[in-house]
Symmetry: C2
Subunit: 340 residues, 2 copies
């Protein structure tokens, strides 16, 4: 019930000045301050369960020990994993995390950005949506440290970006399909201009073309809305009409929808189609065959993002993270009986 106690309350109760209380509780001038007075102050502070008001401290120091994190959607496993690791690393360094979801909407992104700036966060980790890059100016104006996560933009110095080699990731996927004997792959991606997904696409297209010669690689794009239905249509077309022997799902959500279709229509994996997904999901374990997927080093990336915010030296580094193909049953080689 008791309201919060301030240094002033303690000072008044003991008939000393606020400054003295501050010095004692912060362990300053320990050699000058009377031991008994100090003891009295400490005791009363404990008794009243004194907690410094972080707001007041922040006003003086203009440090809030808070990092702002803007992602697409916290309920998406990819981002919630990142949030998890960012929180972990931030905590380790004595920082907290405020988060906001922009749902790929640049206006929403800008509005959250403004709020976080007004809140005086000490740094920002941003999964900038398409069309949101122009609002980064606002961050620069107030010279707030920031990094862009997952996404990339041409105007942005590489040292400000924490992401993976998307081109290379797709290259590895295509090569893996080849090695396992799958020669006709369809990739399914979101329709978007986001540069990192473009790179992922190019990695697929170019590597496929090289490997397959002239044949045009099969690349499908779906819109966010009606994703489920679109994917059903696409997969059935790819499998039944185009007779592909392998599918490459470009994102988490696409993978989920795609695997659901495969399960529902009893399309055998990998016998009828092999499957590779981008990003990890618990769910892959419960599909009839365990799923081969591209693993991003989320923990390392998150740590790097936080460290870039907090450490100017690390902020200068340019680093592209490499992904790892986790090979499971969904790309098992098919032994063709006729060749035996």
């Amino acid at each position: 019930m008791s309201k919060k106690v301030s240094m002033k309350d303690i000072a008044t109760e003991l008939g000393v000045s606020v400054a003295l209380v501050s010095y004692v509780l912060n362990g300053k001038f320990t050699n000058r301050i009377n031991v008994e007075t100090a003891e009295k102050i400490r005791k009363l502070a404990k008794q009243h369960n004194y907690r410094p008001n972080q707001i007041a401290k922040s006003l003086k120091s203009s440090k809030t020990y808070t990092i702002g994190l803007i992602i697409a959607d916290i309920s998406n496993l990819f981002y919630s994993s990142i949030a998890h690791f960012i929180e972990e690393e931030a905590n380790k360094q004595g920082y907290n995390v405020v988060f906001g979801s922009a749902y790929e909407d640049p206006e929403r992104f800008a509005s959250i950005l403004d709020v976080f700036i007004a809140k005086q966060v000490d740094g920002l980790i941003l999964a900038v949506p398409e069309g949101g890059e122009k609002y980064l100016e606002r961050v620069k104006e107030v010279s707030l440290p920031f990094v862009v996560l997952d996404r990339e933009f041409a105007e942005l110095d590489r040292s400000m970006i924490v992401n993976i080699d998307n081109y290379g990731a797709s290259k590895v996927v295509v090569e893996h399909f080849q090695q396992q004997g799958f020669t006709k792959t369809a990739a399914i991606a979101l329709k978007t201009n986001l540069k990192h997904l473009q790179a992922r696409k190019e990695g697929f297209m170019e590597t496929s073309s090289q490997a397959l010669g002239l044949r045009e690689p099969l690349f499908y794009e779906v819109l966010e809305k009606d994703l489920e239905q679109e994917i059903e249509r696409i997969i059935l077309h790819a499998v039944q009409v185009e007779k592909v022997d392998s599918l490459y799902f470009f994102t988490n959500r696409i993978a989920m929808a795609g695997l659901a279709v495969l399960a529902r229509f009893d399309i055998a994996v990998p016998e009828q189609v092999a499957v590779v997904c981008f990003d990890e999901a618990d769910a892959y374990k419960i599909f009839k065959r365990e799923i081969t997927y591209v693993q991003q080093p989320l923990k390392e990336m998150s740590q790097m993002a936080v460290q870039k915010i907090l450490n100017p030296e690390i902020r200068k580094l340019k680093k592209i993270f490499q992904t790892k193909l986790i090979v499971k049953e969904s790309t098992n080689q098919i032994i063709d009986n006729e060749k035996l």
Copy 2:
């Protein structure tokens, strides 16, 4: 590059007082203030892209427009969904969310609590871990509005709790199994003393006993560590030795591990065992059969939690949310050939 501009900067530049700037920018005393002066101030503020310092505002008003959310783990789908809805509702009311994960560790919980209190959040939404209830005293001490989410504690007035009827949820599950002709169910739960999970257990045990007469219901408990292996052992035992015809997975994580075992060992669902899971997951869609599950009204619960924080009237309400059994193929009735 330019540092942040304050009201003082604007005031100085125009040779007026800070108070006047404040009045103008907050639209106070509009009838008294000279229209031209007001215009000048507004113009310069816009020009300099003035953003009020929220920290300073908070210090004066002791309102931070921030809600603290403490959950077990943001990367767990259940909590990230809740975080999503809480953020959504909080935003709608002009609030932000800071979050912390306590990983079911009461000390960690207490430490996050302290930080949030020092940060002067306006309210707290807490998934209190076992043994963490004693730290709620700290929150009461500073008379901060709070609600406990998902969990329940005897000492706590029901109006402070936002959760579901766990007993009833299990009752419905058992009855559903009965109706579908499954008579020997094993439930798999976490080993815990958390009251809400106890209620879930009692709902299962009592309804089962009543339905089955004297036969002791099969109830397995697993430890958090080695969860995967334990569950494998348990399921194989339940299915092969005890010959159960149905499984009831008590939580998200148990369900995932359990379904993975069923998939790996090719245990047919629902032909060999029917399955019901607690809580929703994308993953259920990609299991060979769609999974019947207990759905919590997460959105409504999240909204209620936020509203309880922000509205003293709603804070008084006592409400237990009801779950909904989403029936899918994993509990399809088995037509026994021998009876035909």
